[in-house]
């Protein structure tokens, strides 16, 4: 059963590539198609920061010792629960300021308005108990969720696995990740695979709060446990993650975008983080809003993009970290589903967008981490690079006009080996939320066509009434271009070469070419 679910989720991860540490010297002047992976624009020069193809399961071999240590430290599950409940007050603080207006819980679940939401997400336990619903209260939906569980069980009784139900303009997707069942109901044109990927993110979001070990432990002891008791106050994280999934290309591309910054300044910041190390420190991450400034990691330890997005989501969903130094347990499920890391989260300066996340293995390490941050800040504030960084914050993005390609409205470019992507800000024509989500929808369609599980494609060109789109995937990069409907095929073709040249020229600024380790 579980093996099945694992397999279906592993397939989309295979789309990304394992880090490549060699071949960095052969960076072509003019990047052309057919580039070897690792030499495409944006590829890191020393070693990759993230792990892609390898999931947590692949890492266990190396990570075994640490995991055991982690487990030892965490001790009894009951103990963990107490820790978690203790943390609840922090979580609740977050809750106050976030998205109360978007959470339309008290909606009538029989109304047309409820039915017509673009995307519903439900989480339930294998006993059919509601855990989460995006719209409407779990109480009002308990019978609906009961039916969902019944459908899952009936198909399971036949030694089979339910995947999805399709009606015109609506589909229901099921993901069983014991001990949880996740169900998505969507009116978008997304494929089953894309919807499953989103459900998987939600699953990992829940695991990141509890660890899988604890989750299993709870349900083994009490099958009809009401998990909402433990998750109360954290629903906003899931709400926010769902919002991101509709809007953030990074989650679609399995990649992260960077704050544009001169490489000289970025290198100074990175080495600052590298110097502020500590025994238990595993990852130091500096964020500017939703953009990565730099990431320094312990040698041999990789961060999976899913884990990083969960961290982004945690930081981005809450303003309470602004009030001082935060200290919160977090499970990074792609790294290790069994134990908690402890994250020190703080902003460099009170009103700054720069947020520093120090991930430690030691629960008692708060003061140590606090000290690391101070050391980093002191060192950085003496350097001119800090000024450059603050300047860069003023223009965290760039307009597509800078690329100077006629009729080009927007694009996404992902360097596969570095796991980083770049994209300009939305142009005039896509200013409204609805328009931006529509454009994201188009990218999602292109993405799922190119990454079809059994019939992948090299390139996809679509010419419609509102825009012309071109998508292209090679072993080194993925590229998605959006042109005005006036753009021709000849133009699209020449735009690819022009754009790749431009990205090569700007890669020092747009990507992190020399990631560091401690």
């Amino acid at each position: 059963m579980d093996g099945e679910a694992q397999r279906s989720t592993a397939s989309w991860e295979n789309a990304t590539l394992a880090p490549v540490d060699s071949l960095r010297s052969e960076r072509a002047e003019s990047p052309m198609p057919g580039l070897v992976e690792g030499t495409e624009p944006g590829a890191g020069q020393k070693s990759a920061m993230f792990v892609h193809a390898q999931s947590f399961e692949d890492l266990t071999a190396e990570g075994e010792d640490e995991r055991e240590a982690e487990l030892d430290k965490s001790g009894e599950c009951a103990d963990e629960l107490k820790v978690l409940v203790g943390e609840k007050s922090v979580e609740e603080q977050h809750n106050i300021d976030v998205t109360s207006e978007t959470r339309t819980k008290e909606e009538d679940v029989c109304s047309e308005a409820w039915r017509s939401h673009r995307k519903h997400v439900f989480v339930l336990s294998e006993a059919g108990k509601p855990i989460y619903s995006r719209y409407g209260t779990e109480e009002a939906l308990s019978s609906t969720m009961g039916v969902m569980m019944a459908l899952v069980s009936v198909v399971e009784a036949d030694k089979n696995v339910i995947r999805s139900i399709h009606a015109d303009g609506c589909k229901v997707v099921f993901l069983t990740k014991s001990p949880l069942v996740l169900v998505g109901v969507s009116r978008t044109s997304q494929t089953d695979k894309e919807l499953l990927r989103e459900l998987l993110y939600i699953y990992y979001q829940i695991v990141s709060l509890l660890t899988l070990t604890q989750l299993n432990h709870i349900f083994q002891h009490k099958q009809n446990f009401d998990l909402r008791r433990l998750l109360a106050g954290s629903e906003y994280l899931t709400d926010n993650l769902l919002h991101r999934l509709d809007r953030d290309p990074g989650l679609l591309l399995s990649a992260v975008t960077c704050l544009p910054l001169a490489s000289s300044a970025r290198d100074v910041v990175s080495s600052g983080l590298q110097a502020a190390k500590s025994e238990s420190l595993v990852f130091s991450i500096l964020l500017a809003g939703d953009r990565l400034v730099t990431l320094v990691r312990k040698k041999d330890q990789f961060l999976h993009h899913i884990d990083l997005h969960l961290v982004f989501n945690l930081v981005g969903s809450s303003s309470s970290f602004r009030e001082g130094e935060g200290w919160t347990p977090i499970c990074l499920p792609k790294f290790n589903t069994a134990g908690f890391f402890h994250a020190h989260i703080s902003y460099l300066e009170p009103a700054s967008q720069l947020c520093l996340i120090l991930v430690s293995t030691d629960r008692e390490d708060f003061f140590n981490m606090s000290d690391c941050k101070q050391r980093f800040l002191e060192r950085l504030s003496k350097r001119s690079a800090y000024q450059a960084l603050k300047e860069a914050l003023k223009c965290p993005s760039y307009s597509v006009e800078q690329v100077a390609i006629p009729e080009l409205r927007h694009f996404l470019y992902k360097s596969k080996s570095s796991g980083l992507y770049t994209s300009p800000e939305f142009p005039e024509v896509y200013q409204s939320d609805a328009e931006q989500e529509r454009l994201m929808g188009l990218y999602q369609d292109l993405h799922s066509s190119l990454h079809h599980p059994s019939r992948p494609l090299r390139s996809f060109y679509r010419c419609g009434e509102s825009e012309n789109l071109l998508a292209w995937v090679t072993s080194g990069f993925e590229l998605y271009l959006c042109f005005s409907p006036l753009g021709t095929k000849a133009l699209a073709l020449s735009a690819v070469n022009k754009l790749l040249k431009w990205i090569r020229k700007e890669e020092d600024r747009l990507f992190i070419l020399s990631p560091l380790t401690y």
């Binding site: 609506c170 679509r462 419609g464 095929k489």
Partner: protein
């Protein structure tokens, strides 16, 4: 169907299984609503030897899926259920009458060492919903063509009669479903038209008029040559399903005698009738036989206020076939058949050789056929016209295509993309095998082209398709 994969893994053979029919059933949830009477909901179940409780459970699951989906979209019913092992297709053919087809996903069986049972891997992304959804609807249309609606059987003889009719029809029909070779053409369900010059077309039209005038019993006529339609007096949707029956079932069953030599025992008795090659494909095989029965299959076609029942007479001379439809209330006699044979036989024989001659002349003008760089499928939703250079001649058992099945599925994927948006579009993709596939949708027309020019770029592909449109569809405007 079992195919042995050419791939041999370390001396052990992998077995590859194509999609196959697991279950096919018809049920009505409003029957047998009392506890313990669930079996009454089931009107037909294939295979019939399935245990009663399993039938009830499978129907129950379908009911639950349909009901559950209504929570989210009350107006649009569930159409399919995907599971790891199979796909189920739901179709509410008439109020409360549901037809369900369960198709097993293709799978690969990998043998294990040490006598362990083989590992089975299901290929879950191979079946296209649009294709098999269309197959289920086609099953119903075919039932309706020969039996009328379910409601009609209910009125005439209650549930018992309906069950009988379903049994009788589907028992044979399901054996003719070849699920492994279904593709985009099933989605279109189109009609292939025979290209003809004006003169010959007028000749055929006047032939039809003459026959209808002389034999006033004839209500509708259809004329086909070489399995392609030339003239039809029926409504489009009726002709579409009749065409499907003729070309995939009736004609293939009768093609052998003509191919057989003059003295072959397969050749029907034409003694004393050397004036023409005409013969009945439905009804009596030999008019001279004193025992001959003058019974023809009955079909149901739509009228303004319902449907009417007709005798279907199919009469063929060489490659030309004429279908004559006569109200079922009239009893057909030997006299009538002899009259028809005498009138139609010689004329149809003559027409057939005229068309054949013209056809060969045209072929000669267009030059010797060399393997083109492209293959295409064209479909027009307005007149149901379809044209495919991908499909070889259809036979009763298989429909051969000349391209890789994965490419056919990419065509299906593009067709789904088109169906989602109601506007003119063009999609050009390059497959991993470096084939280019182009889809164009313009107004009511769809064109799909597969190009085998691996080193071409987007612009060259576009030029190639433009040339194709100019030569094959010179009067049709496609979005550039």
């Amino acid at each position: 169907m079992l195919m042995i994969s050419p791939r041999m893994a370390s001396g052990m053979q992998e077995k590859q299984y194509t999609p196959s029919l697991l279950n096919f059933f018809v049920y009505n949830p409003s029957f047998g609503q009392r506890e313990g009477e669930e079996e009454k909901k089931i009107l037909f179940y294939h295979p019939s030897d399935v245990e009663k409780n399993e039938k009830i459970r499978n129907v129950g699951l379908c009911e639950a899926i349909v009901q559950f989906t209504r929570t989210f979209c009350p107006t649009k019913p569930a159409k399919s259920l995907h599971t790891q092992k199979n796909r189920q297709f739901f179709f509410e053919a008439e109020d409360n009458f549901w037809i369900v087809m369960v198709v097993r996903n293709p799978m690969i069986e990998k043998p294990n060492k040490d006598g362990k049972p083989p590992t089975v891997e299901y290929q879950e992304e191979e079946i296209l919903d649009t294709v098999y959804g269309a197959v289920v609807r086609q099953c119903y249309s075919m039932y309706k063509l020969f039996n009328g609606t379910f409601g009609r059987a209910m009125e005439a003889g209650g549930v018992e009669l309906l069950i009988q009719k379903l049994e009788k029809f589907f028992y044979r029909y399901l054996q003719t479903l070849h699920l492994q070779s279904c593709d985009l053409l099933d989605v279109f369900g189109g009609i292939s038209f025979f290209p003809l010059d004006k003169m010959t077309y007028l000749k055929i039209q006047s032939f039809v008029n003459r026959v209808e005038e002389s034999l006033s019993l004839i209500k509708y006529t259809a004329f086909l040559y070489n399995d392609q339609l030339i003239w039809s007096g029926l409504e489009q949707d009726d002709m579409r399903i009749l065409y499907k029956y003729l070309t995939t079932s009736l004609f293939p069953r009768h093609s052998e005698p003509e191919l057989a030599g003059r003295d072959s025992p397969l050749r029907p008795e034409v003694a004393g009738n050397l004036l023409h090659y005409g013969r009945f494909l439905t009804g009596p095989t030999n008019l001279k036989d004193p025992e001959a029965k003058f019974r023809f299959p009955k079909i149901f076609v739509s009228t303004e206020d319902g449907y009417e029942e007709l005798h279907l007479i199919v009469y063929k001379a060489m490659s030309a076939a004429a279908c004559f439809m006569i109200s079922a209330s009239v009893e057909l006699t030997r006299d009538f058949c002899e009259q028809l044979d005498g009138l139609v036989g010689p004329q149809l024989t003559l027409l057939a050789s005229d068309i054949c001659e013209q056809f060969t002349v045209n072929r000669r003008i267009s030059g010797p056929e060399k393997e083109p760089q492209f293959k295409f499928i064209y479909f027009n939703h307005m007149n149901l016209a379809e044209k495919s250079t991908i499909h070889m001649r259809k036979t009763a058992s298989v429909c051969l295509t000349s391209v890789h099945p994965d490419l056919m599925k990419i065509l299906g994927d593009i067709n789904c993309d088109f169906a989602r948006v109601d506007e003119d579009e063009e999609i050009i993709v390059k497959a991993m095998t470096d084939y280019w596939v182009v889809g164009k949708k313009s107004d009511q027309r769809e064109l799909y082209v597969i190009l085998n020019q691996k080193n071409a770029n987007l612009i060259e592909v576009n030029e190639e398709v433009k040339r194709l449109c100019a030569t094959q569809f010179n009067n049709i405007f496609f979005l550039d």
